[in-house]
């Protein structure tokens, strides 16, 4: 699993930093700078702000490295600093502002007359292996994430992109674990629906004659 390989790599880098290993410094900076940039870019939508957040976070990390008691927890620890740097920097997000998503709006169309709920969804059994379609799915996924309301986006970024636990995500965002779970589910449903519409309608595929 890429997430766990990544995590082990990070823990080794953190141990290397604590031990004063000079090679660990540049590798740590390169690795986390890209991660923090991605988080803050998807949060605030401003490239310049995202680069500044990455630099301010890394400065905070090095200044406070003595506070990291367990190198195994380096990722949530860095993201807590990144989240605060992002809040400090934040102009209003250029993406979707905060609002609540209700569960009902994602309930698929159901027809219970046949004994089962007949759920209207696309055929997900074979996701496109065509490179053009894969690239469209990738773009669509990015758009779906950016279009999530601002209070749902950090939850999916930390839980599903950074693969942090519910407990760590809750601590980083100052939310209860129940709120993290609720927002994660709704954010996933919102993204799923956009991908489902794409697979069902193939609207973008039409432009390439692939539908």
């Amino acid at each position: 699993m890429p997430g766990s390989l990544d995590k082990q790599h990070e823990v080794e880098l953190a141990r290397g930093l604590i031990a004063g290993n000079p090679e660990a410094f540049d590798r740590f900076v390169e690795h986390f700078r890209a991660k923090i940039f991605r988080y803050s870019w998807l949060m605030c939508g401003q490239r310049e702000d995202a680069e500044e957040v990455a630099q301010e976070t890394l400065l905070g990390v090095f200044r406070n490295f003595g506070d990291l008691r367990e190198p195994e927890r380096v990722r949530p620890w860095v993201f807590r600093i990144a989240r605060n740097a992002c809040l400090m920097k934040r102009r209003k997000s250029v993406f979707a502002p905060e609002h609540e998503l209700s569960l009902d709006e994602f309930l698929p169309a159901m027809d219970g007359t046949s004994g089962h709920a007949k759920i209207q969804i696309a055929d997900w059994s074979a996701l496109p292996d065509d490179r053009v379609l894969q690239s469209q799915m990738h773009d669509l996924l990015g758009r779906a994430i950016r279009e999530l309301p601002e209070n749902y986006r950090p939850v999916i970024l930390l839980r599903d992109l950074e693969e942090l636990s519910t407990a760590d995500t809750a601590r980083i965002l100052d939310l209860s674990e129940d709120v993290v779970k609720t927002r994660l589910h709704r954010a996933r449903l919102a993204i799923r629906r956009k991908l489902d519409e794409f697979l069902r309608n193939g609207k973008e595929g039409d432009k390439h004659g692939l539908a």
Binding site: P2, G3, L17, G20, F25, V29, E30, R33, A34, F37, R38, W41, L42, R47, A50, E51, A54, Q55, L58, L59, F62, R63, N64, F65, G66, L103, L107, P108, M110, G112, T113, S114, G115, H116, A117, K118, I119, I121, A122, W124, S125, L127, M137, H138, L141, G142, I156, D160, L161, E163, T166, K181, L184, H185, R188, L189, I191, R192, L195, D196
Partner: protein, 90 residues
Amino acid sequence: MDSHERTERCKEIFSMLSDYLNLELPPDACSEIESHLAGCPPCIEFADSLRKTVELCHGYRPDDLPDPISRQAREELLEAYRKMLVARRA
């Protein structure tokens, strides 16, 4: 179970699917979901599409990358790192 009850059960399952996929439900609730899924192909299909959504998110890497770090920014970080090491050894 009549069709209305079954549809209501589908809605309950729908609200718990992320917790189920995250393995964050108690064993009893997992068993209930699995026994419903075993008899409800549309719910299996929906759960599968949600699982694939999560997998796509796990692998998502935006095309935008930061510019290479400037020499000045690297020096600033290196200085903070060196000071941290000195403080740790003191």
